[in-house]
């Protein structure tokens, strides 16, 4: 303020700079804190290290890779101040679709041998390339996401309701597809995508690689592209976005389509990893994905959030689950404590953000 030019409000640089830490710092702190607690408890009660175990690290990430892929899409939806409840059901349906296109002829009860589907000529896909499984899984995810977006953009009903309806209907669709029967005995060429490969004795599951690639692509899209800028703008102030020339409806369709596509991808990975398709797959995944997103610092009110945060949030979910298993805590206790951790993590993050806003 002693700067003479500031007297007339002269320059953008008239005031001293403020140091800004990346917003992920606090949530990374939470993650490290949780790991530390498990490490200490591990030495006390189990007598071994929690984190210095290659197998465990790989399992932690594998467990959450599918949730993570969904969460990357859900993060974008939540940044627009929306929500997507249909992801779990889309995972169930696309897992069924993907599985059905990779059945082996060895299975006399293969879904596409059923007269209903055989009549449509789908028998051709039995023992064919895994490309079809992936393609149709992604395609149906994309279509259902587009439908979400289209309904929200055109009818302007709350995303909560639109995607709630989609969640119920698509779960029904997944059951109807084979009249509730699971699809098993899939081709190895397809299940290959769900398996691990070794890097220097370190097992790396392929779904994890997919998760990381998806996270990187979407991080770049949100940070460096017009698509990303508009996503934040819509969540921050839809009226201002409209006056700035942004076609909100068109953009929301894109965002929900991306979320649907990623749910479809998650469905394909789920089927490949489980080597089967079951209509009950992915139940409540949407809630885990929302939890991971919110733990990662994305605001349900929209306008705020980053994929890097969601990535860390996803890992926290994984660490908590495997930490409890490692400590041999019973499954019921696990769920009770997991809920508490989700809420606590968000409370800590929010308080820190409030402090930051108040001081600046």
């Amino acid at each position: 303020m002693s700067d003479p030019t500031a007297t007339t409000g002269a320059s953008t640089t008239g005031l001293s700079k403020v140091r800004r830490l990346p917003p992920e710092i606090s949530i990374l702190g939470v993650l490290l804190g949780i790991i530390l607690v498990f490490e200490i408890l591990g030495w006390i009660f189990i007598g071994e290290s929690f984190i210095l175990n290659k197998q465990r690290i790989s399992i932690i990430i594998l467990q959450v890779a599918v949730i993570g892929i969904i969460a990357v899409g859900v993060t974008q939806v939540i940044i627009t101040a929306g929500v997507d409840l249909s992801s779990g059901s889309i995972v169930g349906f696309t897992a069924m679709v993907a599985a059905s296109f990779s059945q082996s002829a060895a299975n006399a009860r293969a879904a596409f041998l059923d007269p209903f589907y055989a009549k449509l000529g789908l028998g051709w896909f039995i023992d064919s390339s895994p490309i079809w499984s992936i393609l149709f899984g992604l395609l149906f995810g994309l279509l259902l996401g587009l439908m979400n977006g289209y309904i929200i953009a055109k009818t302007k009903i709350p995303p909560f309701i639109a995607t709630l309806g989609m969640m119920v209907s698509v779960r029904g669709l997944a059951k109807w597809y084979t009249l509730g029967q699971p699809i098993a005995l899939l081709n190895d060429s397809f299940t290959w995508f769900g398996q691990s490969f070794n890097v220097a004795g370190f097992p790396v599951p392929r779904p994890v690689i997919v998760f990381i690639i998806v996270a990187i692509i979407c991080h770049i899209a949100l940070t460096y592209t017009r698509y990303g800028k508009f996503t934040y703008a819509i969540g921050s102030n839809p009226q201002a976005a409209r006056v700035s020339g942004i076609d909100i409806g068109k953009h929301l369709i894109k965002v929900y389509a991306v979320a649907g596509l990623l749910s479809g991808l998650a469905g394909v990975m789920t089927a490949a990893r489980a080597q089967s398709g079951q209509p009950g797959m992915g139940v409540a995944y949407e809630l885990d994905a929302i939890a991971a997103t919110v733990i990662g610092g994305t605001s349900l009110a929209g306008g705020v959030g980053r994929i890097t945060g969601t990535f860390i949030g996803t890992i926290i979910l994984g660490v908590v689950t495997s930490g409890f298993t490692f400590l041999q805590v019973g499954a019921y206790y696990q769920e009770i404590v997991k809920g508490i951790i989700i809420v606590t993590a968000v409370v800590i993050d929010q308080q820190r953000q409030n402090r930051r806003r108040k001081t600046s």
């Binding site: 409000g9 953008t12 005031l15 700079k17 934040y232």
Partner: protein
């Protein structure tokens, strides 16, 4: 708290409020640098200063929203430290906020008595009693409002009346009003002033933040001026002139308030014929030429802002035509308007302007991204950052850097950011709706100078404003709107305040 209240009832203490040596720092900014301020019983004390001078910070301290880093604070002669806004309210200090803080879906009475509802023996709210108390309160203040009306159905002026009534219902004797007239029509302002005079006669002290000089001389007894977080002076308003105050506020003379230059006027750029939006405005026709400033005057609610919104495609017209450079065009969305060289600075910074959660850089670049600085979907951030910074410096946005969240800027600086957002799109037709509302004298002059520069480059400007001197000072022609219809055009040379008011109120 009670104790303070009672001891404060000593009639002798001349000052309701005495603040001395108050200092408040925020990271990177000294918001208040040892300022002082005294409020007399039964007086209106105006606070003036440019945006960012520290008025709002000081008032937030008085209202218990911020705690000062140091300094003394006396209420009715007694030292006190306010813990929070509720504490302030219970000690008789009430702030009537610039952004009104009422709950829209609830009734007027519910809003006033929230947390203090009269209850019956069973603990249920006694709505009859609540209504009676509200009516009595309104009678005392000369307010005519239905206590059972939903607040969201009220006009801005009436909501403000509710806020004032609420403050009075706490028996507050220190009332802080932050630019209370910024959204009011002339008639409503007169009514507000009547109420303020009644409050004054009742022995209450009113702190009145304003940017409008004429209000200062009309309503205030004393005026304190602040600049850059420092206290400058306190004067009796009858002993001071307009020019003296401006000099104290900006620390220099502002030679020309409306730097209107005569520039050659070119061809018709925008032509509007029989434009109608059912139920809002009808048969609006006008032309704007390159290099011309067309002022639109009219009362709040006359439809002037709706006309602008329709031209820009925010609410597409029911009928009529819009032609740009002679070519008729269906403007059904803002992006179509922008693609044809239009830009629109909206009236309401907070609602339709700022992305409050985002930083200055993001706020500046959001409109231009529609058409420029993007390659294969990727934003050319480097070039955009450089150009945004140039624009920001040209408009003298006061901020540590472009990564500052816009929510931390003062109203005037936010407005400058929004103007730079539109200037980046290099518009040929610029629509400005209340471009200088709630902005200090210095920033106002800068914005006017900028508009003059733009028309020199052949930009056609449409400027809507409630401020007569601004419309008269800047416009080449003035179109007056009344109840959704154009009631007349005035040329710069024959326009004056009286003619405008005649057309605007018919």
């Amino acid at each position: 708290m009670k104790a303070v209240r009672e001891s404060g009832a000593i009639p002798g203490s001349e000052f309701l409020l005495e603040v001395d040596d108050v200092r408040k720092e925020f990271p990177g900014v000294v918001a208040l640098d040892n300022v002082k301020f005294k409020l007399r019983r039964g007086s209106v004390h105006a606070l003036m200063g440019e945006n960012g001078a520290g008025k709002s910070t000081l008032m937030k301290i008085v209202a218990g929203i911020y705690t000062p880093d140091s300094g003394t604070f006396k209420l009715r002669g007694v030292d006190i430290r306010l813990k929070n806004p509720l504490d302030a309210l219970e000690n008789g200090i009430a702030m009537i906020h610039q952004e009104l803080n009422l709950m829209g879906p609830m009734t007027v009475a519910e809003n006033i008595w929230i947390r203090r509802e009269p209850v019956n023996v069973l603990g249920f709210v006694n709505h009859g009693e609540m209504r009676r108390r509200t009516e009595e309160l309104f009678r005392r203040l000369n307010i005519e409002l239905d206590p059972m009306a939903e607040v969201r159905s009220l006009s801005v002026a009436n909501r403000q009346m509710v806020e004032i009534a609420k403050a009075v219902s706490f028996n507050s004797d220190v009332l802080i009003m932050d630019e209370p007239t910024s959204a009011l029509t002339e008639k409503e302002v007169t009514h507000l002033f009547t109420i303020i005079r009644a409050l004054k006669a009742d022995g209450k002290g009113i702190i009145y933040i304003t940017h409008k000089m004429n209000e200062l001389f009309e309503i205030a007894d004393e005026v304190s001026v602040f600049r850059d977080g420092k206290y400058i002076a306190t004067k009796m308003s009858k002993d001071v002139t307009r020019d003296e105050i401006i000099r104290m506020m900006v620390g220099r003379d502002i030679t020309q308030m409306f730097p209107k230059e005569t520039v050659p006027i070119g061809d018709v750029v925008l032509s509007v014929q029989n434009l109608t939006l059912d139920g809002i405005f009808h048969d609006v026709s006008f032309d704007v030429r390159a290099g011309e400033i067309l002022g639109i005057a009219g009362l709040v609610g006359s439809g002037r802002s709706n006309i602008a919104e329709t031209i820009f495609g925010v609410t597409p017209a029911s009928s009529g035509t819009i032609a740009i450079n002679g070519k008729p065009l269906a403007v059904t969305s803002p992006s179509i308007a922008m693609a044809n060289g239009m830009a629109f600075l909206t009236e309401d910074r907070k609602e339709t302007g700022c992305f409050l959660l985002l930083d200055i850089q993001q706020n500046t670049q959001m409109a231009v991204l529609q058409t420029k600085y993007v390659k294969l979907g990727f934003v050319k951030q480097h070039a955009l950052t450089v150009d945004s910074k140039v624009m920001s410096d040209r408009l003298r946005v006061r901020t540590p850097d472009m990564q500052e969240p816009i929510i931390n800027l003062s109203g005037g600086n936010q407005q400058k950011v929004l103007i730079s957002r539109w200037l980046l799109t290099k518009p040929r037709i610029l629509i400005l709706d209340e471009p200088t509302r709630g902005i200090d004298v210095g920033a106002k002059a800068e914005i006017h100078r900028l508009v003059s520069e733009l028309v020199k480059d052949g930009v056609a400007v449409i400027m809507i404003s409630s401020e007569m001197p601004e419309v008269l000072g800047m416009s080449d022609r003035i179109m007056v709107v009344h109840e959704g219809r154009v009631t007349g055009f005035l040329d710069r040379k024959d326009a004056d305040q009286i003619k405008i008011m005649e057309l605007a109120s018919h």
